[in-house]
Amino acid sequence: MAETIENSHSDEKPKPRVRPIVRFGIFLVSHSFLVSIVCFTSGVLALFLLPVLAKNTYISENALMPGSASPMLSNQHVSDGNRLVKDLTNSNLKSSETGIESHKIIAQYMLDVGAEVSFHKFHPQMNQFHPLHFFSSPDSGKIQENYSCSSYGINTVGIIRAPRGDGKEAIVLVTPYNALTSSFGEVLSLGIAYSVFSLLTQVTWLAKDIIWLVADSQFGEYAAVSAWLREYQTPKFSSMSALNAEMCPDINNLFEIEVHSMAGSKFSNSFRRAGTMTAALVLKVRDQSEQFDDTISIYAEASNGQMPNLDLINVVNYLAVHRQGLRVNVEKLWSFLNLGWLKSLGEIFESLANIAKSLNPKFKFGIPATEYVEGTAILASSLYYQALGVPTGPHGAFRDYQVDAITLEISPKFSLDKVWRNDIILRGGRLIEGVIRSVNNLLEKFHQSFFLYLLTSPSKFVSVGVYMIAFALLIAPLPMVAASLYVDSNSSSNCSKGDSSTPSAITDTDEHGITIRSWRWLNSAKLVFIVHLWGAIVSVLPYFICQIPDCSPTTSFMIWVLLSILSLLILNSVLASPFACVKASQEKEWALVKSVTISSVFIGLGLMSVINFATAEIGALLMVPMCLLARPLKLDVRAGTFRSCCRIICNLVLGHIAFPPAAFFLLKGMLDGFGSANVGGFWMWVESLWAWNSATYLFIVKATYLSWMSKADARYQRNIFNIHSKKG
């Protein structure tokens, strides 16, 4: 009977003509195993090809015109800077109990050249983790708790009003300076900044205000800059500042004295502002250096893998290399330079390029092997710092307010004689002057060049269009495998129903189709949702744990683990126990669970690639093989073939490696030796991550529950098996 019905059906409905694109899709899905292997390997390969594909940087914004004017910084200004350096070192030798004295000197110097000066008093603010911080605006003034009057920092701010400007735009120059332990490098960076500053008070071309921020770095450079920026961007209309001032009378007195002692009329005790910031430069001078050359290092990574506009780096790079003769460095992972296989890979690429060139001289994409290795090292560090989401310097604070900023660290060829010092002040000052002059020409904010890029050398970059291809290849298997699993599980369930012992009844239900067949995935979606919910809870937990006072990292980590397990149990019992409510007939359910998991991972990785590409890339490298290989242990054990054994081993190894604490230990072990790794270390690391509101942190937790997912798969199967055995 059933057959006749089926026959009549097939008679009635001629097979619909399938469009080529649909046929192609079906082909991909049906060969998903092969396709996913090909895609994944080509994705990894494309990642290693990126240094070869990198393009030379170019200055995209015409208005910048770097180096078109000859530098105006003369020896006069250099000697000004030198004077400040000398005074500061003398005052440090004399009295070093408070930093107030040196700040006074700096303020006096600023006043002397005719700038507006103000002090900004701040309390270092602990970084607080806000689960929803990412989607909200940069944080407006939070209600601040009581501070002890003893710990505060003073930023000295000098502002030059532009003679040609309307005061609506500004360029910021930041020099971190710790008055208590003032090192020579910091003092020298102040000298360079001051020489530029004194020049800029005299020039006529200035169209944007210049703000020179001497950031008090005794609580860390980032804290000082971010405190100043918070104050700058979110004007307080409440009486909070007044209240603060009342609480700490001694500081106030100090300021009073200063105001009286300084005769300048341009000094003000209130917070001074200029216009919106176009760009910011952080200037540092490294204390020790073993380089042969005067080099300058550029640090650009801000929080969550954000980068400043490439044009800013281009301008600095161009001026430093072509005008001042400095060598430009960007950070690289040094350990990559000695890797043998990387070198041979580079040689392979080089020889391939040579062959291509011999075939057609127009093909010019090869780069020498050494350059390849260096490019890879820089790319790796670029990926690493972007993925970590922790800013590499005080410039990170600016990016939160959409201001493009970089840190320039000058590491001079070290010697103490005066000629050398003059030289470094002159060259550094001219570099800064050139950059400021370029930025001064801007009519709009930086928008022409790239925001999403990876550097492979100071003058080479990989743009978003190129590296996204590698990423897309990497995650392309996910939707395909998900689709094929979904299709398989649907069709196989139908077949099994048809084959079962009571055909008449079941085919009947199947026939008129009032079963919820196409919605069967809802059950597995529920399971996945619960696991994700658990992951979200686990990720919010540290926020509450850190409220507990006096916890060593180890104990708080233990609390975290315990609470996570507890929350899983509670969720499990409250939300109708996803592991238990499975019918015996649905042994193929794991395929659906895997399909839903993979699609959720795909969505997650896609999202992450938009938020923070580097994290997504690294996450994809770890998670995609895990997702594709995940398979219930029980089934493999039962199968007992060699292939399934291999798969079990792969699964277990991957599942454990990708579990973040395990990954952390492995990395740490590789870097510092296994002795130093401990549980508390992981807590510290996680704490440092969430302190920066890092999306990476959320991502890592996501990875956590993903790796749990594969285990959950296994456990889930075990449960089903138990049910079976009980029934049997």
Binding site: F451, A505, H512, F602, I603, L607, I611
Partner: protein, 468 residues
């Protein structure tokens, strides 16, 4: 046994309802409502709470609430909800009263959806019975579509977000649902009231007049033949009767009855006059009704506000040349009208489903769509859970909706706060969202037609089975 099962099911239904209400209340107590009311996905110029408060403030200071192009809603909402925007309870969140009103509106809508769904289900069973397909019902697992739809509506994150985000869309949705409820339970005055209010609040539900009429027309048939608001096409019944050897032609009513239409038109007229009079009274000194029409319907139709939302029109009209603007305005609005007639012809036997399709199309082509509109049609989709059990791409659609609703805030963040993205990023998600809605509608309609075909084939096969 059966009763026990039902009891368990209803028990868990009420559990879920309570859980969703508690969840809403928890979210309301979050500080600043999680900034939801400033999100472009939640509050459009028409439904924004801040604009409502502004309009109320303007009216209180005896200015026209429509001054300065801030408020674009109904004057009735101002008088009803306006006082709640300023009233505060000490120690409680700022807009607690208003939030409570939207929570209540959500719950009422869910209950109305449930009642309508149960109506539809009874009708569905009645149809199957009259077609002698009862055996199949008993064999298969049938979900109580009313409960499912109500739960989908209540637990949908879109609904929750629209409710907590203080937009007025819960109230607009309630009006639409009231209209459909009235139509399905044959309460002409209620249906007319819902239709008039829904049209007054957001204009687009005006096209629901067709499904409402159809349902009344079919309701007349129902009295004669015993099948309900949503049923397979009438041809089926004819065939069935012919097979039985009955000459049932005489029993079938004429397809169209003027009586019910006139009845509905009378009530609709009455209610609309009533609403207009009320509006006229409240706007007497501020330019009268003309001013209201200009800044509500006119604002909707001319797409004046181009601030980003989840729709596609803002981007298009920001890009289009000024002298083409009128042309494209007409094109986009006629787009909705074009689809009305073919769909009405194809789906005339299922007025409720037709209403769902219309609501979905409107929320796609609306000038200021928000997630609250999607919440409405996704809830209505639950009514047809039995019919649509074979819908294709369900997992794909689900993942798409999840992906888009996560991607949209991220893209907005990239564009507005980080400055690394641009408007195209955000608009891309809006386009994906529109595509998803199109796929949903297309797949839904084809699944429904397939269902009808399946019923027909079952009926045609029956006699053959009996012979063999």
């Amino acid at each position: 046994m059966e009763k026990l099962k039902k009891k368990i099911r209803s028990f868990s239904f009420w559990n879920w309802v309570i859980a969703s209400i508690i969840f809403r209340l928890i979210l309301i107590y979050f500080p600043k409502n999680l900034n939801l009311c400033s999100r472009p996905e939640v509050s459009t110029p028409l439904t924004s709470f801040r604009r409502l408060a502004e309009g109320y403030w303007l009216k209180q200071s005896s200015m026209s609430p429509y001054a300065g192009s801030m408020y674009h809603g109904s004057p009735l909402l101002l008088s009803l909800l306006g006082p709640l925007t300023v009233k505060r309870i000490e120690g409680q969140p700022n807009h607690l009263l208003y939030s409570l009103v939207s929570v209540i509106a959500d719950v009422v809508s869910a209950m109305l959806i449930r009642a309508t769904g149960q109506n539809l289900q009874v009708a569905y069973f009645g149809t199957l019975k009259s077609l002698d397909l009862v055996k199949q019902i008993e064999l298969s697992e049938v979900h109580s579509s009313g409960d499912v739809a109500a739960l989908i509506y209540l637990c949908n994150p879109f609904t929750i977000v629209a409710c907590v985000g203080l937009s007025t869309s819960p109230i607009e949705n309630m009006a639409v649902i009231l209209c459909l409820y009235g139509a399905c339970s044959r309460l002409v005055p209620l249906a007319a009231f819902g239709w008039v209010i829904a049209t007054h609040l957001s204009l687009y539900p005006a096209i629901l007049i067709i499904p409402v009429h159809l349902s009344f027309v079919l309701a007349i048939c129902d009295l004669l033949l015993g099948y309900g608001p949503d049923a397979p096409p009438r041809k089926l019944f004819l065939q069935r009767h012919q097979q039985k050897g009955l000459s049932s032609q005489s029993k079938l009513p004429p397809g169209f009855s003027w009586g019910s239409i006139i009845h509905f038109a009378f009530w609709a007229l009455l209610w609309s006059v009533y609403v207009l009079v009320l509006c006229g009274i409240s706007l007497k000194q501020f330019g009268g009704l003309w001013e209201m029409f200009k800044s509500t319907y006119g604002f909707i139709l001319t797409v004046e506000d181009l601030s980003p939302n989840v729709g596609v029109l803002w981007y298009f009209f920001a890009e289009v040349f000024e002298f083409f603007r009128n042309f494209f305005l007409i094109v986009f609005h006629v787009n909705i009208l074009f689809m009305i007639l073919p769909l009405a012809i194809r789906l005339h036997h299922r007025p409720c489903y037709l209403a769902f399709v219309y609501v979905a199309i409107c929320s796609m082509l609306k000038s200021y769509p928000s997630v609250g509109d999607s919440a409405l049609y996704l809830g209505l989709l639950g009514w047809f859970v039995n019919e649509l059990s074979d819908m294709q791409f369900s997992l794909f659609l689900f993942c798409g909706y999840v992906g888009v609703s996560l991607l949209s805030p991220v893209m907005h963040n990239l564009w507005i706060w980080r400055g690394t993205g641009n408007a195209n990023f955000y608009f891309a998600t809006a386009m994906v969202y529109a595509c998803l809605q199109i796929v949903l509608v297309v797949e839904g309609v084809s699944a429904m037609l397939n269902h009808d075909r399946k019923l027909r084939s079952l009926i045609l096969d029956k006699p053959r089975d009996a012979k063999s």
